[in-house]
Each structure stands twice: as C-alpha cells, then as structure tokens.
C-alpha cells in the first residue's frame, strides 16, 4: 500500500501544472546558483593561489635586510575558499580572506567579498545554500500542503476509509511521495557539486564524506519540514488554511527565528566596538613590556632578570643580542594581550552561539544552517581557527626573525642585515581546517537538536494521522 500510495501521489503531483512549473523553477535556480558559485569558487581560488605565490615571492626576495624591518614589512596569511563553500558559502562573504602579519600587532582578517560590493549586496546572492535552506522547504509546502486536506475536500477520504486503508502505510506513502522529488533534486545538486569539486583545483581539502554528511543533514532538514507540513495538513480541514499555516511556519522557522536569535544574541552578549577593542588592547599594552623601549620599567626589570640568569654584569657579555631578545619578549607580551582580548571575543561568540542553539528548538533551520556551514568550513568557528593559526604563525615568524638578530649580532650593534637567502628558511603559512570528525564533535548539540526535531515531528505525525 505504501508503494501504491507513493506512485499515486507522484502521478497526481506531476500532473499538476503548478508542481511542474515549481520544479522547473527550482531546478533552473539551482543550476544558475551552482554555475555562479563554481565561477566564484574558481575565481577566488585563482586569486588565492596567485596572491599566495606572489606574496611569498616578495617575502623570499627581500634581499639583504634587517630582520626587524622585515617583521614590520610583514607578510600575509591567506584563507583559501574551501570546496564545500560551493554548496554553502556561510559567513565567508563577511569574514575576511587574508590577515596581514606584522610585528607587534595582531590584525583582523580583511578583504571580505562583502566589502567589495555595493549596498545592493544586502539583497543577498543566489547561492545553492539559499535554494537548499529557503526554497526547497517552500517547494515542500507547495507539494504537500493539501496532502490530507484534498482527500477531505474531494471526498476520497470516505472511500479510502471504507476500503480499510491502513493509516500509517497511507501516511508513509504520502511522505515518501513528498520526499522523493526533494531527494532527487538535492542528490542531483550534491552529485554535480561533488563531480565539479573532484575536477577543480581545491588544494586537496575536498572529500566525498563531508559532502555525504552535508547531504544527510539537508535530508533530515527536509524530512522535518515534510513532517510539519503533513502534520498541518492532517490537522486542518481546508487546503487554504493548511497553506497559510505552512507558510507561517516557514516564515517563523526560516526568516523570523534566525533574525530574532541574532538580535537577542547581539543584545545579550554584545561585541565591543572596534574602537573599544583597540583602546582596551592599547591600555593593556601600555602596562607591559614594549620591545622598542629599552628605558621602560618593564625593560629594565627584564634586563636585570636576564643578567642575573646568565651571571653577567653587562648586556655586552650576553651570548646574544639583548635588544633582539627584548624585542621578542615584547612580542610575546603583546601576543598574550591579543590572545586575552580575542578570547573575550570568542567567549562572546560562544555565548551568542548558545543563544542560537537554544532557539533551535523553535526552528529546524538553525541547527541545519550551523551544521552545513561547519561541514563546509564556512562558519565562524573555522574562521576563528584560521585567525588563531595565522596568529600562531605570526608569533613564530617574529621569533624566527628576532632569533636571527639575537644570534647574529652583539648588543648595541646596529645596521645588521640578514642574508638574501635567509627569508626562504621561514616555513610557509599552512592552515588545515578541522577534520570532519572534529567538526561533527564540535556540533554535537546541533545534531542532537536536529535529530530531536526529526523524531518529535515523526511521532506527532503518526499520532495525529492515527485518528484521521
């Protein structure tokens, strides 16, 4: 009976003009969005490869130069566009793509795609994740809002009941008829994305497992939506009311809840303004060692401590250049300050994320969105990871440069220049995003919420259709 109902429903659906038109529109939108995303992905990654190579060339070919001048001259850490961003662009557009690494200062990522666009960018882009998260649930509504109400309105329910229809088999037949077109559309999209990514230059990060898990996440999301739409259709008497109620749920789940979550989170755990943040960092910096200032109280204290440690009376007797050593200690102190202040930002971000998670109980969109972005490496967690890796690299670079000066010069010696081939010895910045396993571990709560949505809506649906 399940397969009979499935085929009957499918025939009915595909014989309706509104369904055929909707499916064509969705497929067209998906095609266009994949095409746009692929081009964007290729462009950004070509830019990434070019910028990375040219920046490294500039670094390697500085010629003879003082290492601290090189530290101030700086270099860049570039974030590649990860393969699954082809499906979900997440916050990539708003988070910067490169971080300038220089002495004494931790910089924010800059050159975000959004900054390169006009105010019209507020309207958003046509991306596969937009279709997956917003349009496909709408398609489910369009296909399924009258699943049960039409049986009442047409009068076929009486005949079905007289035939001894088994409610749960009937329900599963209808459910699978709604699920199948969504499954085919999504599977097609993911297969095309997979094949494209398999053949595009992706810096070796793409793996089919991640794509598969992301696909599963979306399938659960659609299953939840199908359950909700069928639940409404089984509870109300008229198709019109079912349509309006289903659209209200869509507005609440996909539009209102994320925006409300964003407002509540920002209100409850606000980020400091850029000026506040910079002022706080400056304040803390003033209270510690400045590598450039040999006369400060902290510098004198360090000098005393080092002389004592090495059992010498003069900085000239040290086996290294104390100026470079102090510079490095100053760097370490500044790095600590940055870690402290960035950790505060992370803490605020984590608190805001908790608000989103708690509101996930009113919207299956939220856990899906977070899981999708996390798997695609386009979420803020990955961006933080990248920024932290860049900072670690910056500190290591400063240590590498100051170490060279300390080793090769005497205290008070000026005008030292490292050899032209020295720069090549600095290892290139390498950032590997978290593995799939660790991404899923970090998102356990989102998976639990989504699974709860799935089982709760299934349970409710079975319960209500029992008495149809």
């Amino acid at each position: 009976m399940i397969s009979k109902t499935f085929f009957k429903e499918t025939k009915e659906l595909f014989r309706e003009g509104r369904v055929r038109i909707s499916l064509i529109i969705v497929l067209l939108l998906l095609g266009v969005s994949v095409w746009i995303s692929t081009r964007q992905f290729q462009n950004v990654n070509a830019q990434y490869a070019m910028a990375k190579t040219s920046e490294r060339d500039v670094w390697d070919n500085q010629g003879e130069k003082n290492p601290h001048s090189a530290a101030h001259y700086g270099t860049y850490a570039f974030k590649p566009k990860y393969p699954l961003s082809l499906v979900d662009q997440g916050v990539d557009k708003y988070a910067g793509t490169s971080i300038f690494l220089e002495a004494h200062k931790r910089n924010e990522a800059q050159f975000s795609a959004a900054a390169d666009q006009t105010g019209l960018a507020r309207f958003g882009d046509l991306t596969p994740d937009f279709i997956l998260l917003f349009i496909l649930p709408l398609l489910i509504i369009l296909l399924g809002y009258n699943s049960f109400t039409k049986e009442r309105e047409m009068g076929t329910l009486t005949l079905l009941k007289s035939q001894g229809v088994s409610n749960w088999k009937w329900l599963l037949g209808k459910w699978s008829a709604l699920f199948m077109p969504v499954l085919i559309i999504t599977l097609t999209l993911f297969l095309i994305a997979g094949i494209l990514l398999d053949n595009l230059q992706d810096f070796g990060v793409f793996n089919w497992n991640s794509l598969g898990v992301m696909f599963l996440v979306y399938m659960v999301y659609y299953a939840v939506f199908i359950n909700i739409i069928l639940l409404i259709s089984s509870l109300v008497k008229k198709s019109g009311i079912a349509l309006v109620a289903s659209l209200c749920i869509w507005i609440l789940a996909c539009l209102a809840a994320p925006k409300a979550a964003s407002n509540i989170a920002e209100n409850k755990y606000p980020y400091p303004t850029r000026q506040e943040f910079a002022a706080n960092v400056l304040q803390d910096k003033k209270e510690g060692l400045d590598g450039h200032d040999p006369w400060s109280k902290e510098a004198k204290q360090l000098e005393k401590q080092v002389l004592q440690e090495y059992g010498v009376d003069s900085l000239h007797q040290l086996p290294f250049n104390f100026n470079a050593y102090r510079m490095q200690k100053g760097e370490e102190h500044e790095a600590e300050i940055y870690f402290k202040h960035y950790n505060y930002l992370k803490e605020q971000y984590s608190n805001q994320s908790n608000i989103y998670r708690s509101l996930a109980s009113i919207s299956p969109y939220l856990p899906t969105r977070f899981l999708s972005m996390a798997i695609a490496h386009t979420d803020y967690d990955t961006h933080w990871d990248f920024a932290d890796a860049a900072e670690t690299y910056r500190i290591a670079t400063q240590e590498f440069l100051n170490g060279n000066t300390a080793k090769n010069t005497q205290y008070g010696e000026r005008g030292y220049k490292a050899s032209a081939d020295f720069w090549k010895q600095l290892p290139a910045f390498q950032y590997d995003p978290p593995e799939l396993g660790s991404v899923l571990n970090r998102n356990t709560s989102n998976m639990v919420v989504l699974a709860t949505w799935l089982f709760a809506t299934f349970g409710l649906l079975f319960f209500t259709t029992k008495t149809l």
Binding site: M1, K4, T5, K8, K11, E12, R15, E16, M154, G155, T156, T158, L159, L160, K161, S162, Q163, G164, V165, S166, W170
Partner: protein, 229 residues
C-alpha cells in the same frame, strides 16, 4: 444517538447473500446512519452490527475486507485515469491486478473501453459510479453498501446501474441500498424496508408487492396527506 436524539431505534435488519435490500425513507430517517454504522464510521450507543458474522466494532479492519461502499456522489482522484483509480483503490484493499485484469473489471462494470484511460475529471457521475462498482468487483466484496447511488443519474444511467446490481446479486453479493427512488427500489430489490425516525417501520419481499402498493405503504408510513389543489 445524535445530540440526545435517537438516530436509530431498535433497528433489526438482516441482509443475506444475494439479497438487494433497499432502505426507503425521508431525509433524516436513519438510512445513512445505518450504512455508516456498518462501515464503522460511527459507534452505536447500544446494539451491534454484524458483517459476515463479525461484530463491526470489534473487527473494524477485518469487516472492511468484505465490504464495498458507494456514496451518493462517488469521488475519485480526478487527475488519475479510471484504470489508475481502480488500481489504487484495489491496492488499498490489498489486491493487486494486472492492467488487463483491471480493464476487465471496468468492462464488467459497464464502462466503455474508450473511457478506461481517460482522467476521472472528464467522467460523468454515472461513469464514476461504474468505477465504484468495478472497485467492488475487484475487491470481491461480499457486502455492498450504497448510499443514494442513483440520485442525480439520468434514467438510462440509473437503469444501467440497476442492471449492475442484479449482476452482483448473481455473484451472491449482499447489497444494502439507501434510496429515495421507489421505482428503482421496486425494480432491483429483493427486499424493501421503509424507515422513519430511526425505526424500520415496514418490510416487504419485493416480489410480493406492486409499485403502487409500495407507494401507498411509503406515503402512509410518512403520514403523507394529499392536499387538495
């Protein structure tokens, strides 16, 4: 009971295999309630309904295997063809047939072969009723419940429907038909009952009574008084 009123009162009705029992009565007499009771759509406050010696309330799923139901206005899926509708409703009842077999049922029910693959949305009421009969044939129903099946049918279609019922009678199907149509009842029924206020007021063997006698009995039961022009 409906809203404190007795919808059926001491109704004692027995339809044997091969019988066509026509229930006559005015609107609200309890004809449809009797059918709904046998379908298990409503529960009696007292008393019991049996189908094939099974208590309907206690064996709701099981009794439905034996019966077929055709309401006054049989509604099928308009975007599906006659064959597809028959296939689906047979499937719901747990029966699977090949397309030639399904066409055979439709033919037996008197539907013209050109209509087999046409969508139900193009069908007249009479044609839909024939598909309903085909559903009953495919199900091999032992009991056929009909609620005003000929209302709104033209005389030709109504006559054809009566012919189909006699065909089912030959197959030993027990038919209970609620109707207002005295003429059709007299023509097809083996037994006729007249209901009023939920009670079965009179019963006849159809062959023992003429149409005019049936009409008089019906009018007397309804307390109908002719008004002088």
């Amino acid at each position: 009971m409906y809203g404190g009123q007795k919808a059926l009162d001491h109704l004692n009705l027995n339809v044997k295999e091969g019988d066509i029992y026509c229930l006559l009565g005015a609107n609200g007499a309890g004809k449809t309630t009797t059918i709904n009771l046998l379908l298990g759509f409503i529960e009696p406050t007292s008393g019991t309904a049996f189908i094939n010696q099974l208590n309907v309330q206690e064996n709701l799923k099981h009794t439905k295997k034996f019966l077929a139901y055709i309401p006054e206005n049989l509604m099928l899926y308009p975007s599906l063809t006659a064959v597809e509708n028959l296939d689906y409703f047979s499937g719901i009842a747990g029966k699977t047939f090949s397309t030639p077999e399904l066409k055979g049922f439709l033919e037996e029910a008197g539907l013209q072969s050109e209509a087999f693959s046409k969508r139900i949305s193009t069908f007249s009421k009479g044609m839909r009723q024939k598909v309903g009969i085909a559903i009953a044939l495919a199900k091999e129903a032992k009991v056929l419940l009909l609620d005003e099946p000929t209302s709104g049918l033209d005389p030709k279609a109504s006559n054809e429907f009566g012919r189909l019922l006699r065909k089912l009678k030959d197959k030993k199907v027990a038919t209970l038909m609620a109707t207002h149509d005295l003429f059709r009842a007299k023509e097809v029924a083996t037994h006729i009952g007249i209901m009023k206020d939920g009670q079965l007021k009179q019963q006849f063997v159809a062959g023992d009574i003429s149409l005019s006698e049936l009409e008089s009995a019906y009018l007397n039961t309804m307390d109908y008084k002719e008004v002088a022009p």
